[in-house]
């Protein structure tokens, strides 16, 4: 039973950038998957966890390294590896039954075998009575069940799950998780291993035997956390809480504060900026400044107080760190003096503070402001900066970064941008 199900060796993945160079998104991934294992890939968005899943699914090929499954290198969708998609990806023109049968038809099985297996899968996953329904008639949870049934009926060895619960509401997600774990524990699923991509820490601890924590720039595995708890696991259990806390720390460990300062100081305009609204930043600062945290809070705690997911909270915290309003260390978020000042200030003073931090610590913002000041008419086309950014990052990242900096500059009244004419300028309408 210890025979490896899947072996990933020194895998790297890169995408071409606009300037022709490659952008490394996965660096040196090594992983051996044993039979009977649920492996969790945990990380923030952009850490390459979904990219890795797509490599395993054979939807893309790595630029370096290899993925070996059943003694053969994966060079395309492999038999025995199936996938559950985040959006369920059902075909809206096929009924539940037809959706489930599709993969079996592709295998070229005889008609009666197809029908038998599809009905068994539908039965297993609790979809009886819905066979002739169309996906549009189903709730999100039921749709995702169809997605599971479709993936399971082809009797895969490895089931890949790409954030399958993240599009569902909390209750539905929990029911689906519990149902899945029950079937898995009872050995009623025709699968030998699961790879689950998630950004939800509790979900990872709840479901996985092993959690691989991903960090980005480029995406790589920073830590491996073993979860030895028996199923069903209780979220209230002390060991469970410990593991959640450990995962938080692992997720926030990188970048370390000192190194982060170096990195930001050294960084030029080539930094990809997160799309975070100034209001969200202000909200988080206020929450951390207020009672009972008083300027310092545990990330998991503040996340649950604000009813936010890690993936939503991290970019905000990171943006604040970039602007030197907070420090993040070992799963804690702490306000700097500037941060405290901001939390207490009124609207106009906040804008001033924000402008100062923005122009000082976000090189792109300072750069745009300088260019505008140097020009006699104080105007510059968007294209000018986009071209500059695209030398360093992908087209999409450049666009998103520029939008982020525009949003911040608007809040700070640092410079103006007119989307109709796609020009930056110094004057705001008065």
């Amino acid at each position: 039973m210890t025979e490896a199900l899947l072996e990933i060796r020194a895998c790297c993945q890169a995408f071409p950038k606009a300037d022709g160079e490659d952008l490394l998104v996965l660096d040196d991934i090594n992983l051996t998957m044993k039979q009977g294992e649920i492996i969790g890939l945990l990380g923030r968005s952009g850490s390459g966890k979904s990219t890795l899943l797509r490599l395993i699914a054979g939807l893309a090929l790595p630029v370096k390294g290899s993925l070996v499954y059943q003694g053969r290198t994966i060079s395309g969708p492999a038999p025995g590896i199936s996938m559950v998609f985040q959006s369920s990806a059902l075909f809206p023109w096929l009924t539940v039954l037809e959706n489930v049968e599709l993969g079996l038809e592709a295998l070229g099985l005889p008609d009666d075998e197809i029908r038998k297996r599809a009905l068994a899968g539908i039965d297993l996953i609790g979809l009886d009575g819905y066979e002739s329904a169309y996906p549009r008639e189903l709730s999100g949870g039921m749709r995702q069940r169809v997605g599971f049934a479709r993936a399971l009926v082809v009797h895969p060895n490895i089931l890949l799950m790409d954030e399958p619960f993240s599009a569902l509401d909390v209750l539905t997600a929990e029911t689906l998780r519990t149902d899945f774990l029950e079937l898995w524990k009872d050995g009623r699923l025709p699968i030998k291993g699961v790879v689950l991509v998630t950004h939800n820490i509790e979900e990872a601890v709840l479901m996985c035997d092993r959690i691989l924590v991903f960090s980005r720039n480029p995406g790589h595995i920073t830590e491996e956390i073993k979860v030895d708890l028996p199923h069903p696991r209780s979220r209230m259990d002390a060991t469970f809480r410990d593991l959640v806390e450990r995962s938080y720390v692992a997720l926030t460990a990188k970048p370390a504060p000192t190194r982060a300062a170096d990195r930001f100081a050294a960084a030029g305009i080539d930094m990809v900026l997160p799309r975070v609204s100034a209001n969200a930043m202000a909200g988080l600062m206020e929450a951390v400044a207020g009672a009972p945290y008083d300027g310092k809070a545990d990330l998991p705690v503040i996340a649950s107080t604000l009813q936010m997911e890690v993936d939503d909270l991290f970019p905000v915290a990171e943006a604040l760190q970039l602007l030197r309003f907070t420090d993040i260390e070992g799963g804690d978020i702490r306000l700097t003096d500037k941060g405290k000042q901001f939390a207490e200030a009124g609207v106009d003073e906040r804008k001033k503070l924000f402008q100062n931090e923005l122009l000082t610590y976000v090189p792109l913002a300072g750069h745009i402001r300088r260019v505008l000041q140097e020009r006699t008419n104080h105007m510059a086309p968007k294209r000018r900066f986009i071209d500059e950014l695209e030398d360093h990052m992908t087209e999409e990242a450049a666009d998103s970064t520029l939008r982020a900096v525009v949003a911040w500059a608007r809040f700070a009244e640092a410079f103006a941008y007119d989307d109709r004419s796609e020009t930056f300028s110094l004057d705001n309408p008065t």
């Binding site: 996938m83 990806a89 023109w93």
Partner: protein, 576 residues
């Protein structure tokens, strides 16, 4: 594991013979009789046609109508085949795309009417001396008026299939054949069927021109509504014209009920947006076919056979991954581009040679000038149509009950060929001594203005009720309401309609700038009349010149006006 199977998909035990079976049987039988009746004459020699020329007897109209409809349906079928191959190739192959898409774009703007006499010779030679050859030519002419927009819509759809659906189909290892029929074609279906309807409407316009074909000195007149109308016009028989219009209306109604309603209702399940609450389209024909046990029994083996083809390993899924062999692929790309450039240069040289040898610069200048006149005409007409139909469309769209009634009526009117109104227009112009340069123009937009109307109506219907409520709440009224709410909300829809209307009007100018009623012949000054004249005279050089200049105008207009306007509308006003 389970006992009974409580589902309806099992087709084993159907109800016995029902009344629906009778209706369905009648429908099927009717269809067979129709095809047999309409295709009876195909293999007869051409001389037969001369022996039994088209007659204006209204009793012959059902047969003529059947033959015309069959031609249109065959052309539609060919258009579908063309769509599935051409558009698929363009969407699947990056290299083919570079050539095929611009080519389609040009083909869309070429007024094919001018080419009918050129292509006829070729098609007649396929079945020499038989009616079949002339039929080929007619069907081809109709095909050219239907195929382009269908292919374009299919290509667009194929390019926008959601990524997750394609990935799912790859993870589950669907073969290419299966992926096409189970994923891509269904996704494209609603849009394709809509375009089939538009094509069918549009092609009525060409029916009159395509059924009366002249090759050199001999004129072949294929029996059909088109040639019936043409004859009625030469003989100044107003009664016959009215009969023809009536027959045409009945035919349009019939194929709408028997063909397109069922198709639309059937294709509803292929809609990708998973919204609830919108009334699904219904069709009594589809209901009958679905409820009939006999049809189900007959179709079941066909369905099984069709599913069997999904197993063809001929189209192995393979790895199908874009393996990045950049250097290699760049070389091939370069080579391919060089080939295309060489081909383009060669064709340009040949065309230039052909035209230049016989056409002077003066002639070219004249064609350009005439084009400008037609351009002015089209522009003014579009402006007038906009002023009339935009406000009316918005008002209709705001009243859903009225809109439900107006929408199909507008679509019906769009099918109405201008030719049949010639008698009225020409008589009026002659009697009232009007200037044909002005008064022939409305015929150009007669059929195409409705695209503006029904697109605007659709746009107004889609304004969210909250937005309307805000307007009421803030007491926004009058011009301000039009300026800030209504016009921006319907603008993208309006642009779509105006593009179609403008393109259609250019095409229509060939028919509409020259009108005749018996021996009276009226002619306006314009490029359309120029092409029509050249066609009549069999002057190929001028046909080519006229068609090329017109394509040039349409392409330039699309590039500098319509396309930027479309993107602007998409970006600015599209309600998410």
């Amino acid at each position: 594991m389970r006992g009974t199977i409580p589902i309806s998909v099992e087709q084993g035990q159907r109800r016995g013979f029902t009344r629906w079976d009778i209706v369905a049987a009648l429908l099927v039988l009717g269809l067979l009789v129709f095809i047999g009746e309409a295709s009876r004459h195909l293999l007869q020699p051409l001389t037969e046609l001369q022996a039994a020329p088209v007659s204006l007897d209204p009793m012959r109209l059902p047969e003529y109508a059947a033959r015309t409809t069959l031609r249109m349906l065959v052309a539609l079928l060919l258009s579908l085949v063309f769509t599935f191959t051409y558009a698929t190739l363009a969407a699947k192959s990056r290299r083919a795309e570079k050539l095929l898409v611009p080519l389609l774009d040009i083909l869309q703007s070429v007024p094919i009417l001018g080419f009918i006499s050129v292509t006829v010779v070729f098609f007649m030679s396929l079945a020499p001396g038989r009616v079949l050859g002339a039929e080929f030519a007619a069907v081809f002419a109709i095909f050219t008026s239907q195929a382009w927009n269908m292919a374009f819509s299919f290509y667009q759809s194929l390019r926008t299939v959601p990524v997750e659906l394609l990935e799912a189909s790859r993870v589950f290892k669907l073969s290419r054949w299966m992926q096409f029929w189970r994923v891509e074609a269904p996704f494209a279906m609603p849009q394709l069927i809509w375009n089939m309807m538009v094509s069918m409407s549009g092609s009525w316009f060409f029916v009159v021109a395509s059924e009366a074909i002249s090759v050199g000195n001999t004129t072949v007149t294929l029996p059909g509504i088109g040639s019936y109308i043409a004859l009625a016009i030469t003989q100044e028989n107003l009664h016959a014209v009215v009969w023809a219009i009536a027959a045409m209306m009945i035919v349009i109604l019939l194929y709408d009920q028997i063909l397109f309603r069922p198709l639309v209702a059937w294709a509803d399940r292929f809609r990708f947006e998973q919204q609830a609450g919108v009334m699904p389209p219904r069709s009594w024909v589809l209901d009958v076919l679905r409820r009939s046990g006999a049809v189900a029994t007959l179709m079941a083996p066909l369905g099984r056979l069709w599913r069997r083809t999904m197993r063809w390993s001929l189209f192995e899924p393979g790895p199908r991954i874009a393996v990045v062999k950049r250097l290699n692929s760049r070389w091939v790309d370069g080579l391919w581009l060089a080939c295309l450039a060489a081909l383009a240069a060669y064709v340009m040289w040949r065309v230039g040679d052909f035209v230049a040898g016989n056409v002077s610069w003066q002639e070219f200048g004249r064609a350009l000038l005439l084009g400008a006149v037609t351009l002015a005409r089209v522009t003014i007409l579009i402006v007038i149509a906009t002023v009339i139909w935009l406000p009316l469309g918005v008002m209709i769209g705001m009243r859903p009950r009225l809109a439900q009634f107006i929408q199909p009526a507008a679509q019906f009117l769009a099918a109405f060929p201008a030719n049949v109104l010639f008698p009225i227009a020409v008589s009026a112009i002659v009697v009232l001594k009007l200037d044909p340069n002005i008064w022939l123009s409305p015929l150009m937009i007669l059929g195409t203005q409705w695209y503006i109307l029904f697109n605007v109506v659709a746009g107004a219907m889609s304004i969210p009720s909250e937005m309307r409520d805000v307007g009421t709440n803030l007491q926004i009224r009058g011009w301000l309401w039009w300026r800030k709410i209504a016009i921006p909300a319907v603008f993208p829809y309006y642009v779509t309609g105006a593009i179609t209307a403008s393109g259609g009007s250019w095409n229509a100018s060939i028919v509409a700038e020259v009108a005749s009623w018996g021996s009276t012949k009226l002619q306006a000054y314009g490029l359309g009349a120029y092409i029509a004249q050249a066609t009549e005279a069999g002057d190929f050089q001028r046909i080519v010149l006229g068609v090329a200049v017109m394509s040039l105008y349409v392409v330039i207009l699309n590039r500098i006006l319509w396309r930027p306007l479309y993107w602007y509308a998409e970006r600015k006003f599209r309600l998410e």
